[in-house]
Amino acid sequence: MADVTLTVDGKTITAPAGTLLLEACRKVGIEIPAFCYYPGLSLQAACRMCLVRIEKMPKLQTACTTPVAEGMIVSTETDEIKQARKAMLELVLANHPLDCPVCDAGGECELQDMTFKYGAGGSQFVEIKNHREEQQWSPVVFFDRPRCILCYRCVRVCNEGMDVAALGIQQRNVGSVIAPNDITSLDCEQCGMCIDICPVGALTSDTYRYKTRPWEMTHVGTICTHCGDGCKTTLGVRRSDDGMQIVRGDNRDKSGLNGEFLCVKGRYAFDFANSSERLTQPLVRQPNGEFATVSWEDAIKVVAKRFRAARDERGGRSIGVIGSTRITNEEAYLLQKIARSAFGTNNIDHHRTTDYVGIVRALDGQKNRFASIADAGSAPAILILGNDPTEQHPLLAWNVRTNVRHNGARIYLANHRKIKLHRQAKSFIQIPADGYEAFAHFLGGDEASSFGADAIALRDSLRQEQNLLIVFGSELRGTAISALVKFGFSLPDTKFACLGDYVNSRGAADMGLYPDLLPGYQPIHGNSAIRAEYGDGIPRESGLDLAQMFEAAARNELAALYVVGDDPVERLGIAEETLHNTFLVVQDMFMTATAKLADVVLPTANLYEKSGTVTNTFGDLQLVKKAADRAGVRTDLELIVRIADTMGEDVHTLVPFGKGVRADMGQSRGAQSGEADRHGIWLAAHNLEPKLSPFDPNALLDEIQRLVPGYDFDRLDLLGGTSQQVQPAGDGLIGISQLADRPDGILPSGDTLFTSGTLGHYSEKLNEVEVFQTKKSMVAAD
C-alpha cells in the first residue's frame, strides 16, 4: 500500500497506509505503552494505555486501533497523556493485590513496569480490594483472578492462535472475569500460550508457580527435545544439589523459528531431566547376574575390551549399533563413524518413523525443494496428506492456522480421519486409511482410482496453485512419495516436507544411521568423499537393519550390541532370551526395558544437558545449547569418544579437534586460575569456537559441514541463533535411485499431543496432563 507521512512527537515518519499508529511508532523507536494490544491478534482496545493526542480529534485516541493517515500530527508523551495513563493504571490497580513479592511475574511484569514508569503509586480508592482465591484449572494452568487486568490477550490467543477457544470472559464491569470452558476447569490443549501471553501474573503454571524469581535463573535458549518440529524453548535453570536444574520452559525469547509458539511438551515436559529415576552411575553386570555400580574408567574399559574382542575375534559384522532420534547430529554422525571405521560394521540403524529416504530419493537431483517450517506460515497454499499436525506437529499446525488467519492461505486436506485442521481447510476430504498411495496417483491424474466428486474438485483447485507446499506424514512411503512428488512437479515451484516424529529423527537419517546409507543418504557401496576420508575399511555391503540385528542376536550371530539412547526392546517387544549371547551396552538416562537386559549401562545426559545441533523434520538445522546439568552423567558424544579411545582408536582421526586454534589453558589455582573459562567466554562472545577437546561438538560439525551433502550452511548465522535450512537432495548425492527396493522398516511413534515416546513416560507433568485430558474426553463421550 502507498505510504503516508505523519508527524509524531515532532518527528516526520512514513508508514504504509493502513498501519496501526502504535506499530508505525514502534518501527521508528517510539514506544507506546500497551497491555491489550498484541501483534498478530485481533484488536481489543480494552486497556486504554496507548492513549495519544491526535490533532483535530476531540479526545485522546487509542494508538492500537487508529490507522495512520496523511498529515496526522500526534503526540505520545505529554503531561496530559501521562496523567491519563496514570489514571488508567490507578483503575487497573484498584483491585490488584499487592503480592508482587511472591508473584511469579514479579520482575518481568508489564504492570510493574508501567506503574514504575507512570508512578501510579498512590490510589484514590479507599474501598477494600476484592479478593478471590487462586484456582487450579488444569494440571498446568492456575488462575489468580485479582491479578487479572482484563486485557483479553489469553482469550484471543486461545481463540485465534490455538483455535481452541477454551477461555472466555464473563460477568461485567468490576465483576468481569476470565472463565474456563468446563465451568471450573479447562478442557483444552494445555499449551500454556495463555500463561505466556499474560502480561501480569494472573495465569501461572504449575511447574513454575512460587518456585523461584526470574532473576535467580539462568535463561538458556535451546531446542525442545520432543517432536520433530524443533521449537526453540528458553529453559530457566537454577543451581541444585546435584547440578543445574530446569525450573521453567517458556518462550519469552521469541527469536526461534517457532516465534511465540510452544506446545505443552516444549513448555512443561522438561521434568524428565529432574526425575529421581535418572541413572547417575555406570552399571556393570556381575557374574552373579546383578548390576554393580562401578567407576566410569572401569565401565568404559569393560565396554572397550568386549567391543574389541568381538571385532577381532568374530569380525565387525558381529557388532550392531542402534542410535537415537534424540541425540545431536554430531553424536549421530560420530556414532556411525565409529561403527563404520572403528567397529568395521554397517550394522547401524535407528527408530525410523517416516520415509526420509523416500523423499530424498524422489527429489534426487532437484534443488531447493525441501520446505522450511517457516514456509508453512507463508506458503499461499498447503496440501497436507496424512498425519494429524495438531497432535503430532503442534508448531506446524500453529503455522498453518496463522497463515490462514493472516494471509488467507488455502489449505487442502486429505486424511483418513477428520483431523482438527479441517476447520482451517478450504477443502477437506476423507480417504481410506490404506488409500494414500492411490490418492497420490489420483492427484497425478490416474483416472482409474475411485475417488469422488469432492476429490476431483480438490484436485482441480490444486492444479491452479503455484508455490504449493506439500506436507505428508508416514502414511506415504516409497512409491507413494514418488507419485506425490511427480504430481508436485507438475505445478510451478512446489516444495515438500516429510513429517517424522522426534526432535532429531531427520538428523539421525541425514547423519547416516542406516545400514545401507552413509551420511547424506549416500549409498554404502558407492565411492564417496566420506569413504575416501574414513579409509577403505568400511564394508561395502549393507549391514543389518534394526529388526535384523535382533534376528541375528537370536541366532547367536551378534556378539555385541551398542544401543545409544533407544529402547527397542520395549518398542518391538523383544524377548529376553534373544540377547542372552549378545554383549549389550546401553547408554540411557533411565533403566529402560533395554537397559534392564544390558551388560553395561552408561548413564547419559539428555538434549537439555549438551551442546550441538539438531535438524528438524523440515531440515531446519539449529543450535542446541547446554542448559541443565546433572552430576554423574556424561554426554553420548563423550562416551563414544572415550570408548573408541580405550579401544585404541586414534581419537584425532575420529574427531578433528585442536586444529587451527590454540588457547592458553591457564591454571586451576593461583593468579591465572579460570583462564580457560575466560578464554572460552571470550571466544563465545566473538562467535568463535574453541574446539580444544575431542568432546567439542563443533569439531564434528566442521566435518559434517565438509562431508555431508546438503549441510553447507552459514556457520556464523547458525552460531548467531538463526536456523539454517539443509537440502540433502542437492548436488553431490550419489545414485540414491539405486535403492528403490530397500525395506523401509518404519514404525511411526503414534504419539499424541500428550505423549512423547519413551521420554514421555518419565515426564510426570505430561502424564498428569494426559490422564486429566483423557478423563475429560471420557466424560464427553458418555
Binding site: 477461555l167 472466555g168 483444552c188
Partner: protein, 174 residues
C-alpha cells in the same frame, strides 16, 4: 480432546423447546447477517418458556448458532436479567435508582423484604415470589416503580404494594 461436550450437545433435530418456540428459533437465525446475532433474543425467549436459562437450553442454543457453550455463557453472564437458576413465579423487581430513590423506592424495597421475608435475589419458600433490587427500569416519570415479570406498576406506596402482592398471590393460586 472434547472441545464441546457431547453430553451437552443435543442431537441435531431434537429440541428441548416447545414446537412453537423451536419454529420461532428456526426463523430467527435467518433474520440476521450473522447467526450469532440471534443469541440474545433466543436466550430471553428460552428463559420466558423455561423460567430460566438451563444448561440444556444453553447447549441447544449454542448448537443452533454454531457457538461454543462457553461463548453462550460469556454473553449470558453479562446480562443481569438473564438467569441460570429457577426463581419464583413472580419476579418482583423494585427500582431504587435516582428518581425512584427520591420518591421512596428504597423504603418500598425494604417493605417488600419484610413483607415477603426474603432479601435481594431470593425466593419465597412457596416458590411464588422472588425479589430483586434493580437499576432504572425507564419508568422514572411514575416513580417509584416496580416491574413484576413483564408488567409495570407505578406510583407505588407500601400500601399499594401490599395490595399488589396480595393480588399476585391469589393469581398464583388459580
Amino acid at each position: 480432546m472434547s472441545l464441546t461436550k457431547i453430553s451437552e450437545n443435543p442431537k441435531p433435530g431434537s429440541t428441548i423447546f416447545s414446537p412453537e418456540l423451536a419454529a420461532r428459533f428456526d426463523k430467527l437465525v435467518t433474520l440476521y447477517p450473522v447467526r450469532r446475532s440471534a443469541l440474545i433474543p433466543m436466550l430471553l425467549y428460552a428463559q420466558d418458556e423455561i423460567g430460566y436459562v438451563s444448561d440444556a437450553a444453553i447447549a441447544e442454543i449454542a448448537q443452533r448458532l454454531d457457538l461454543t457453550v462457553l461463548d453462550v455463557r460469556n454473553v449470558l453472564s453479562y446480562y443481569s436479567m438473564l438467569r441460570t437458576n429457577p426463581i419464583g413465579k413472580y419476579n418482583v423487581q423494585v427500582c431504587t435508582n435516582i428518581s425512584c430513590m427520591v420518591r421512596g423506592g428504597q423504603e418500598l424495597f425494604q417493605h417488600c423484604k419484610k413483607r415477603l421475608g426474603i432479601g435481594h435475589k431470593q425466593t419465597t419458600s412457596d416458590g411464588i415470589f422472588s425479589l430483586e433490587e434493580v437499576e432504572c427500569i425507564g419508568a422514572c416519570s411514575w416513580a417509584p416503580a416496580v416491574q413484576v415479570n413483564y408488567d409495570f406498576h407505578e406510583n407505588l406506596t407500601p400500601e399499594a404494594m401490599d395490595a399488589l402482592l396480595d393480588e399476585y398471590r391469589s393469581k398464583a393460586g388459580q
